[in-house]
């Protein structure tokens, strides 16, 4: 990897250093720490007092597993520049990697108090909340994500999933709406959303058995969704079609 770097890229000098940084991060991801160390050393020789290189060194410490030293390195970087977003987030990742999820939540919340327009942070927070089963807070985070990027179907889908998990007839109704939005945004191709609609409708009918039903459009929606699912399965996984029809029968879905 390094040989290729030195031979081919010595001409375009400006790109070389960014490449070193990227290779270092990639090597840390694959746990080839020697390669990463080499890259970081090269960068350090070239830019001795740089904050970016300092960040890479701290990341190297983090990848090696020396949590205390990495924490010290990040804190000192933050003292120099308290508005460095990347270092804040690396610190959260450090705490998360140590398994301290509640500490990660605290740090992320504090970070988001200042930098509340950072949607990556909201996303990370939502995932941590889900892993801790704090679904209401996860729903809040997904709402933020939907607000900032309403055209990304992923967030609508995740929000619908969280609402469905929370349960309760209001949430189920809202979840159904969000599954429909996802289907709308993805042009009907999202299998998970189609399943979500079927499950939501059957859950709603089960919950509202004793009360007056408010299904203005639900029978159509459910039958449409199940028909679309059957078509998808026929096209792509026809051997599982029988399992699908059985599942629909159990859910009492009218197809």
């Amino acid at each position: 990897m390094e040989l290729g770097l030195s031979k081919n890229y010595s001409d375009c000098n400006l790109v070389e250093w960014t490449l070193y940084e990227q290779v270092a991060v990639a090597a840390m991801d694959c746990q080839s720490l020697d390669v990463a160390k080499d890259c970081v050393n090269v960068l350090q020789k070239k830019f001795p007092e740089s904050k970016r290189v300092g960040r890479l060194e701290a990341m190297l410490l983090e990848a090696k597993g020396s949590w205390g030293e990495a924490e010290k390195a990040y804190s000192s970087l933050l003292e120099d520049n308290p508005f460095d977003q990347v270092v804040h987030k690396r610190r959260v990742a450090l705490v998360k990697a140590q398994g301290n999820l509640s500490g990660a939540i605290d740090l992320l919340n504090k970070y988001l108090e200042t930098f509340m327009a950072d949607h990556d942070a909201w996303r990370e927070l939502a995932e941590i909340y889900i892993s801790l089963q704090m679904y209401k807070q996860a729903a809040f985070c997904y709402e933020e994500l939907i607000l900032s990027q309403p055209t990304v179907p992923l967030y609508h889908l995740a929000y619908a999933d969280v609402l469905y998990t929370l349960g309760g007839i209001e949430n189920l109704l809202t979840a159904k709406k969000y599954y429909s939005i996802t289907i709308d945004l993805t042009g009907g191709k999202n299998t998970r959303a189609l399943f979500g609609i079927c499950l939501c409708t059957s859950a709603i009918t089960q919950l509202s058995k004793g009360r007056n039903k408010e299904d203005k459009d639900s029978p159509d929606l459910q039958s449409l969704a199940s028909a679309a699912l059957e078509k998808e399965y026929k096209r792509r996984a026809s051997d599982k079609l029988s399992a699908l029809t059985l599942a629909f029968k159990t859910l009492k879905v009218s197809s």
Partner: protein
């Protein structure tokens, strides 16, 4: 009386073109000097947070139809609550950016530097033009003008019968001053220190409302509706 004066081509060679070249070079020099003297703005915690709050409020307004009504109302209350809403600027604390600009030493220094870098070359070049290139007709403007422009355009020429279209080199200097802005944005890229006219307009319009609380008011009102 429209008689045609024949201007010496030496005027073109030795006055018009050198003047333009000198002004271009001075502009480029100023650009690089201003780049060197630029101080790194240290972000203030409050400023950063306020910027992000405005972005988030704007997102809320834009995507209001995408979240459940209850969540929207909760967030709106969070932002525009009377006592402790994020966008609520208590009366008397909303700082005038002007006052801020003059009290913040960094910004005041920056402004002074920019002003100086604008005034000094202009003054010097103007003095140079006056000293060397006065007392003769430099160019002819292709369209006819009224007599009112005589005092402005024909400073060094003390003959009152010369057609107003024949101007002195001072007017060529002013023409270059305002006209080279387009050329500089071509050579030097979008952001350059040559936007004198822009800055002059800015200095004129200094009595505007505090931008920050203006932004906040806009967001708050928009959120309510």
């Amino acid at each position: 009386m429209a008689e045609d004066l024949v201007l010496d081509t030496a005027i073109r060679d030795w006055v018009l073109i050198p003047l333009t070249v000198v002004m271009i070079l001075i502009g480029i020099l100023r650009y690089f000097v201003s780049k060197l003297m630029q101080s790194q703005p240290t972000p203030d915690a409050k400023v950063v947070k306020e910027g992000q709050v405005v972005v988030r409020a704007r997102n809320l307004r834009a995507g209001a139809n995408f979240i459940p009504a209850k969540s929207f109302r909760a967030r709106r209350a969070y932002f525009s609550n009377e006592e402790n809403g994020l966008l609520h600027v208590p009366k008397g604390q909303g700082q005038n950016p002007q006052a801020q600009m003059f009290s913040d030493p960094n910004m005041a220094m920056d402004m002074m530097k920019k002003n100086l870098s604008m005034i000094i070359p202009q003054t010097l070049t103007f003095a140079w033009v006056n000293f060397f290139f006065s007392g003769f007709v430099a160019a002819k403007i292709p369209f006819p003008l009224t007599q009112r422009f005589r005092s402005m355009l024909q400073n060094g020429i003390d003959l009152s019968t010369v057609d107003v279209s024949y101007v002195s080199s001072r007017s060529w200097y002013f023409l270059n001053l305002f006209g080279l802005r387009g050329l500089f944005s071509l050579i030097l890229g979008e952001e350059n220190a040559m936007d004198d006219t822009q800055r002059m307009m800015q200095m004129g319009g200094f009595g505007f409302d505090p931008t920050k609380s203006d932004c906040y008011c806009v967001q708050r009102i928009a959120l309510v509706y």
